[in-house]
Symmetry: C2
Subunit: 297 residues, 2 copies
């Protein structure tokens, strides 16, 4: 089942709750997810690791201004972009950053935390100082703010709207060696307090991977995923034998008991991929071990 059998697969999500199924932006979101899935899949086909693939796919989504991660992230109450991201391998390595400003690809910084420190999570100014020491270019302040997100922020300032996440991105993959990995990245909730860190930065909450079972990446109301440990619950369900779809559904039920909705993507150690969401939509794209592409919103 698991092992170096050459089978590769992955699935990406562009966030639950960002779109309704009839939204005119749906096709563009699906196209963005497909581009990310193909980028990750190319890494896997070239013999890259699952960790390489999920970081490559999430980087594509961070750079796409349609998604709430990296460029185009949602703004805090005081109008800044603060990003959370994390990555975990099925072999137990993990890295994450929280509330980081002016870094183009937070998921790559999370990977540097994983590979070059004894820590798992760096936040705020300390994470930015680490980035500088690692030679990561600091963007000009506000470089990640798009006109679309500034307009949403201005509207929210005038009329208190429901604080909305949506558009968080993630990827889970299974590589030719039988290893799995997961990565997640987000700007978080529009109008969040500065310094707020959500599930996308937290191992077990938004991101989890275990080679014995599979990997999971979450999107939705971060605080509920944090209390329910949504990604860990999904991986535990796969460890207990649930296929990826069912594991995602089981974890979402636990998250709902903790007061929130969202979506989860899963890949298991055999390379099966699946997902579930209980928001109106969740853009996603997958490529199976047979090379078959699927997508939806």
């Amino acid at each position: 089942m698991n092992g170096p059998d050459g089978k590769v697969s992955l699935i990406v999500h562009g966030g639950a709750g960002a779109l309704d199924p009839g939204d005119p932006d749906g096709a563009a979101h699906v196209a963005g997810c497909q581009a990310a899935a193909r980028a990750g899949h190319a890494v896997l086909k070239a013999g890259g690791s699952a960790a390489d693939a999920v970081v490559a796919a999430v980087t594509v989504l961070e750079d796409d201004p349609l998604f709430n991660a990296g460029t185009g992230a949602a703004l805090t109450e005081d109008g800044a972009v603060e990003c959370d991201a994390s990555v975990m391998t099925g072999q137990g390595a993990a890295g994450a950053v929280g509330a980081v400003r002016d870094v183009k690809n937070p998921v790559r910084l999370a990977r540097l935390v994983m590979e070059r420190t004894a820590h798992v999570l760096l936040v705020g100014a300390g994470a930015e100082a680490f980035a500088a020491r690692q030679g990561v270019r600091r963007l000009e302040a506000g470089a990640l703010v798009t006109d679309r997100m500034r307009a949403k922020w201005q509207a929210a300032k005038i009329k208190a709207t429901t604080p909305a996440g949506g558009g968080t991105v993630g990827c889970v993959a299974r590589d030719a060696q039988g290893h799995v990995a997961a990565a997640t990245s987000t700007g978080g909730i529009l109008m969040k307090l500065s310094g707020r860190v959500g599930d996308s930065a937290l191992i077990g909450a938004g991101t989890y991977a275990d080679d014995r079972a599979g990997a999971a990446s979450c999107t939705g109301l971060g605080e509920a995923f944090m209390k329910a440990l949504g990604a860990k619950v999904a991986v535990e369900a796969m460890l207990a034998g649930a296929p990826p779809d069912a594991a995602a559904r089981q974890a979402l039920a636990a998250v709902r008991r903790a007061g929130g909705d969202g979506g989860i993507i899963c890949a298991d150690a055999a390379g099966r991929v699946g997902f579930a969401f209980n928001t109106p939509g969740m853009s996603r794209a997958a490529i199976s071990t047979a090379g078959v592409e699927t997508s939806g919103v």
Copy 2:
């Protein structure tokens, strides 16, 4: 079993790995834990909630310079104190702060996050700005640094020593209404990078509570507790029927598989308390539902 039966109990820890059993400071650590346990117990006997009790007990430990939390916390690589703390109730409320400077009682700030925001975790400068808006007094820079910890830091700068945690504090309690709660607070690992957040700030990793089962607070190598979700695993074990001691042991076994050692204290919904550690020592003190005090190192 659970319910408003008037039974109260709690257990506190002063950190795994801070002391060996023969350490001359052992008696002082135990006395500090006993003072904290009595403070929390007085809250419970007066009809206070488990959340009130764990915050009261952890506040006593934060203010005791012997322990690595609040006053007397370990220093970062650049010689500052940055604190992590979290609190969770068995009813599912949670709050936490990470990498916070110059706040005397991080556990109280974590409680404010729980009670006065829609978020679970605030970090760094954003958490400090939130504290200021809530009227929490900002200490002068360096006020939490003790001579003892500055000396340890200077020694570590000269001779690279094993990065050591130790002295993290925590409390779990069961109140007269049958509710449970957990709180944890730490300065983290000596010589940690600025911005590093450990398990003590993270729901599921260092702190967890669920009225159906019980509550847990952890101490030890934070990164391993983060990967294993030590506190959540302990509460899940109690939910499956394990008594508190056995639940703590089961969770420690999972943490060891993730590469670290430490200790865990647990209280279950019936008011039984227990602990386990696999470091040479862990100072602790407990008061049972029968009012019996126990302690050790």
